[in-house]
Amino acid sequence: MTENHHFLVQQVGKGDKQALAALYRAYERPVYKFIVSRLNDPHEAADILHEVFMDIWRVAASFEGRSQVRTWIFGIAYRKVIDAHRKRSRVTVTDEVPETGDVAEAADAGYAAKQEAEHLRFCMGTLSDDHRSAVSLAFYEDMTCAEIAEIAGVPEGTIKSRLHHAKKLLLHCLSGRIRGRAVA
């Protein structure tokens, strides 16, 4: 599969539109999901997805195959979303883990049984873009730490740290929402 995608990128670099279409069909869904998870705006996400594949079309000839095609494409998407955030001048949401709250309580709060997709969406939305990206790539795409680090252009330790903080924030947020609902 990886070799096949590498071949497709080479063909795109030679101007093969059918290869681009094949690459689009292979990566459209995961890349779009990744972008939406960071922007929470399907319209803007569709535009950025489009820009990602236009970039692929324009720069495929310079792809040297040093990285996997998947990390290369996600890397383009990663940077496009950062640009979009900059254009929006979006205020960074919390990076601080609140002092109150108990992770054990969150884990035991029945979350596993409740399947609260809505709560999860809300709580993902409270994370910073760095945290959200790491969680998305780890859990939507099941990427290795090394792959995520390559996409984000940071050391593996940074990714582990981001995921650790994101986990605490997510569990704290979920705990609070589930508690609030139980009280209500």
Partner: protein, 201 residues
């Protein structure tokens, strides 16, 4: 164990997504057997991952691909067009792509909607058969808004929807205006308007 608990805790997400090596995984499992809090966190993360992977999402699909091919063709055609000034040929290419996109979209809507129900939240605005407007128009990508406005005001037209993802606008004639005259005005503005079609409502 060769690593501290704190070091291993940082790998919890990768235990959950199954990307640790066998040795690392065995080391983590040994720790989790002794650490209830960490085991509870592992379970919570596993639930979060399962929830995320099960999430259904509507992607641009073939519609997005048609849009991509349209712009790729434009990219490829741009240098040639600059040299030869063959604007009409480019417009036909664009029209072919738009028509193909609409046809693909109609198929996709028929195939997709009955199985998925109503979309959640804001969906995509599609130039479908029930959309308002008498004309479907696309403008040259670099046209300033002022030029579009002047053209529409001068032709007694207003935008009633758009742009779609393909860059299509639906227009209506203002009260007192004449559709044929307005259509002729649009078609005459070849440097601004790339395509003009009657809406099929």
């Amino acid at each position: 164990m060769t690593r501290s608990r704190d070091e291993m805790e940082l790998d919890l997400a990768f235990l959950v997504n199954g990307t640790l090596s066998e040795a690392e995984m065995a080391e983590m499992e040994a720790l989790l057997a002794e650490d209830e809090l960490l085991a509870a966190e592992r379970d919570a993360l596993a639930t979060i991952r399962a929830e995320m992977q099960a999430e259904e999402i509507r992607t641009p699909g073939e519609f997005g691909l048609a849009r991509l091919m349209r712009d790729v063709n434009r990219d490829a055609a741009a240098p040639a067009a600059a040299e030869t000034k063959v604007v009409a040929l480019r417009s036909r290419t664009w029209m072919w792509q738009a028509a193909a996109a609409v046809a693909v979209l109609a198929l996709a809507v028929q195939a997709y909607l009955p199985t998925t129900g109503a979309p959640q939240g804001e969906g995509y605005v599609l130039a479908g058969a029930s959309a308002p407007g008498a004309l479907v128009v696309s403008f040259a990508p670099d046209t300033p808004e002022l030029q579009i406005r002047d053209l529409l005001v001068g032709a007694d037209l207003e935008i009633v929807s758009g742009p779609s993802a393909l860059g299509l606008y639906r227009l209506d004639v203002l009260d007192g205006g004449d559709l044929d005259t307005a259509t002729a005005a649009l078609r005459a503005a070849r440097t601004i308007v790339e395509s003009v079609e009657n809406a099929e409502n």
